[in-house]
Symmetry: D2
Subunit: 333 residues, 4 copies
């Protein structure tokens, strides 16, 4: 079975998905839609598909699935619309920045029975997936402590930050999802601290650039998250998990792994310069999982519920930063 896709939104992340779909033997990109005609046209030419309006995609019976890469404030509307149109929906995170809106949207999806998958790409990274597999295989015993280090090479433009919902909802949300993916138990309490160390303009925009979080579960499992909007050495993405019988870790990835030795020491090149190259394999595996869910007529994971819970953790973290206390997830959700 080949799944026919329409891509909604032909920006940076849209192009990443277009390439992943084109490279898949089980998927075909048949249509692309974007408010900017030029952006849509570029993708259409690169992968030999049609430029369509949203309305045309909605009514085209040959289209099985849509990939939503439009601006965040359109996500929930588009999910609802295409779920109702009987199409499988893959939506970039977040579903919405407002929890109530997310809940409503998920209610609509449930009514329609549509397949919905949320784009937490890191679950599909082969290294992080192998960490999870090692846990599932019992290699380290019951999980006790998770440590996630997640740092961007440099801060985004202030304009992006202003519409991002803040670092906790924009960046840490990926780590909240990874924490849930790895802890083996729902985190029920959040403590977070956040400050502005990288760029005062980020603070002036009402956001932070440096974040530390501790999540805890009912049984006492702990997860630490460390975020920064700046790492001069590249896109820093590491995970380690301590269990009762051992530990497992996924180290950073770099595009070229040579080492040069001279009188100053031994030097390896910087890490990947950002998520497009760091997670190339993850994006391909993510689309493959979505296609497999559609083909199998099964719920996709990460689900809408996963999107909801990660957002709720972000909201709890923001409350914790403001009130300087541990916040129960039950205060939020």
């Amino acid at each position: 079975m080949t799944v026919n896709f329409a891509l909604l939104g032909a920006g940076r992340i849209g192009k990443v998905h277009a390439r992943a779909i084109a490279a898949s033997v089980d998927a075909r990109l048949v249509a692309v839609s974007d408010a900017f005609a030029d952006a849509a046209q570029t993708v259409a030419e690169a992968y030999g598909c049609a430029v369509c309006s949203i309305d045309e995609v909605e009514t085209d019976k040959s289209i099985d699935a849509v990939v939503v890469c439009t601006p965040t404030d359109t996500h929930a509307d588009l999910i609802e619309r295409f779920a109702r149109a009987g199409k499988a929906v893959f939506c970039e995170k977040p579903i919405d920045l407002d929890l109530a809106r997310v809940k409503h949207c998920l209610g609509v999806v449930e009514e329609t029975g549509a397949v919905l998958m949320v784009g937490f790409n890191r679950r599909f990274d082969p290294h992080f997936a192998a960490v999870r597999a090692a846990i599932d295989e019992g290699r380290i015993g019951p999980v006790e402590m998770v440590q996630i280090t997640s740092r961007d090479p440099g801060p985004p433009p202030i304009g992006y930050i202003e519409s991002s919902g803040g670092i906790l909802r924009d960046m840490t949300i990926h780590d909240f999802d990874m924490a849930r993916f790895l802890l083996g138990e729902e985190p029920d309490t959040v403590f977070a601290t956040a400050s502005v160390l990288v760029d005062p303009a980020i603070g002036e925009a009402g956001d932070f650039d440096s974040v530390s979080v501790i999540l805890t579960t009912a049984s006492g499992r702990q997860c630490s998250i460390s975020n920064s909007r700046r790492a001069t050495y590249g896109y820093d993405q590491r995970i380690e998990v301590l269990g009762a019988e051992g530990a497992v870790a996924a180290e950073n990835q770099r595009p070229v792994s040579i080492e040069i030795a001279d009188a100053r020491g031994f030097t390896r090149p910087p890490l990947h310069d950002f998520f497009m190259t760091r997670y190339t394999e993850a994006y391909a595996a993510e689309i493959a999982a979505f296609v497999a869910a559609i083909a199998g007529g099964k719920p996709a994971a990460p689900s809408g519920e996963d999107g909801l819970r990660a957002l709720a953790l972000a909201d709890a973290a923001l409350l914790s930063v403001r009130e300087r206390r541990a916040v129960k997830l039950s205060e939020i959700l």
Copy 2:
């Protein structure tokens, strides 16, 4: 100049210091004292020194310095006594488990003008010292985030735990000192969470075995600490520091660094089995620094004040665990 030492307390850590003194070209171990005659005798034979009573050490004019490795509840008394006797004092951490007692003791030391050094050995580890040197040399720019992972191979006997003052004062206290050593600014707020995941008996003794801490400074610098009383792969001691211009990290150490490759993969041996072998070089450098301070007639570091501040952070952390909120150090000190 050769400094003549008496060792007070010939237990496990006492023997470590005895060896470090014996190996130093500028120090000589001339006396050892222990409530258990056999323990003192063993050290005396190994290093060719005399067995003495505490009183004899106090009045022996030839003894320049004492190393206090007796049980914790005797530390403050011995520090005061030997400071008054005009001897330089090296005391294993902690000075005392009670902040008020520590303050009084430091007052006495100040009056006498004695040299006092507190045994935070990790500052002298060549790898951690190199991390600090890299910061001081401006290699990573201003410090922003510190991450300390510190895990014991296995939990101590319950009897030890009962008299230890709890994991925060016994184990995390080393990490609090390292945080102060590396942050470049005093931490002023502590958030800590602690749970019992390793052994319920530890919980029954009123203590915890798994701890996550976030320290913050006035300018927003952050330090995360992760502790466990169990790491099956050995004594896990890592530090990493993110700065505005780069990062520096000290990896784990192992006694033998071979790698065996076969069909199951590439395997390196476990880490050191505990602090005596992991910090061999640190203990030697620590005594050398103490001897240098005595010879130079200068204050030693880490100082009594360093001991006081690390303990205060531990007390603040304990309050944070209980009240599930960020605690200001000013509430404690």
Copy 3:
């Protein structure tokens, strides 16, 4: 410009190239030919191209280039035929197992002015290419010593070995090309030793499975090569180069780079299981370089001459094994 390709030979390595062509934005696979109709059909379906005979490919004006992945004893004939037909030719190594035949073939290519590229894929591995780039940038000063370790996970079937020309012409030939790629000066002398340690059947087939080689250049530069037909831990492919001012090395690659720590130590997974996964990126870059040469109307590298010289080194090595002495390349070429 899009280059239209025909694939000649749809076996294991043929499929690797078919995928690389399909993934390229500048290349299109339009035809596939194979003596086994089923093999051709499989590729045709996977990538949407036609099944053709060799004759049809030869006369099809729309086909710009052929990729020769047929059995070794057909390579030279096909190169000559398609060079005369005005098509660019990419040929898997070796051009032929007989030096005289190779020379004749290269003469024909020269007459026709056709683009010919020989499939020494390792030059295009991003890590090995970065080693060469570091040398070219002067990072290590003039090259002095090269060390190449190249081991297969396990021996091929005896049938393969019997028609392979022997380990020196089949396996070490890649290392001879890498040596030439990295030494910065033509090796002019070869010493080789070879033995049968892996499987006596390989010896009975007249071949070896374990090889050590030293190449030297006129100025005294040295290159060591270590080959085995068996490495239980995976496909072992390493290079290191010592220069007057430093050294550069490319380490092994593995598909998943996690590390599991427990009481037995720290374990990383085995390496790639063979060349198809290890050199995925190299095969893509190789086709891209071929397409660029065609588009630019320029000679391709590695050239036919590179194929000739690597084979001559293999022949010299075989003579060295037999006569237990250093053999001058001028005795062969």
Copy 4:
């Protein structure tokens, strides 16, 4: 039992042994002798021993063992003299640069029944010893191929080179001993190539600075050795062994193992600056093994025979360089 030592020769390597003896609980340095009174005096003061003449050491009944660190051309005479005097003898390599002289010396030692140990310190490095232990435990199956990389940080003074016997007898001899230590079978054939790449003055002195060697055994096991007198990144000392079931490797050691990451990449400090710091643990273990042999009344290893065989391999290698052919050890020994 405490073994009383006299040190003959208080130069660079003599001081290394003096420190190892002083640090041992079972050994005591009681005398030091050197043609230069100042050198002897320095050691005497540092470790509290007497300055003696060679004659005094010979007749002093309280001295159990001598450590010979005098110039090479005195080694054989001193070994014979002290063996006859009933003392255990530890001699730095080589016994002599002339094979016939070595054989005669070993004959004398055999007659006297004296304990003789030759200073191939690398066998006692904990990492290399662990490589051997892994082989002995069957972790990698039967040994097939050994690779030894051994490079000095920089060339010695020309004066040293002139009296060294040449790089093969001075430097590669350590690698010949390691090859024998690890191959599990005597190497019976040597091929070597050598050139002058580092400093023309070394060539003018009749020596080489860059060497590649292949050793083979009767059953076809192979060992590659790569030497250079210059490695800008420090003292490069690596070993790897391929067996039928796996491989084992010992990586380089560095005094400080931090890593600094910035926009240029990830940098670790250079390696040890030379053998005194790289092999500190090995020198201590070497003396401990010698003491244990004396205490147990047993032959010591590496033995005089080991010294003889390593020298014979060096002589065979030199002949191979000259005649550009594989040389049988039986041509030499």
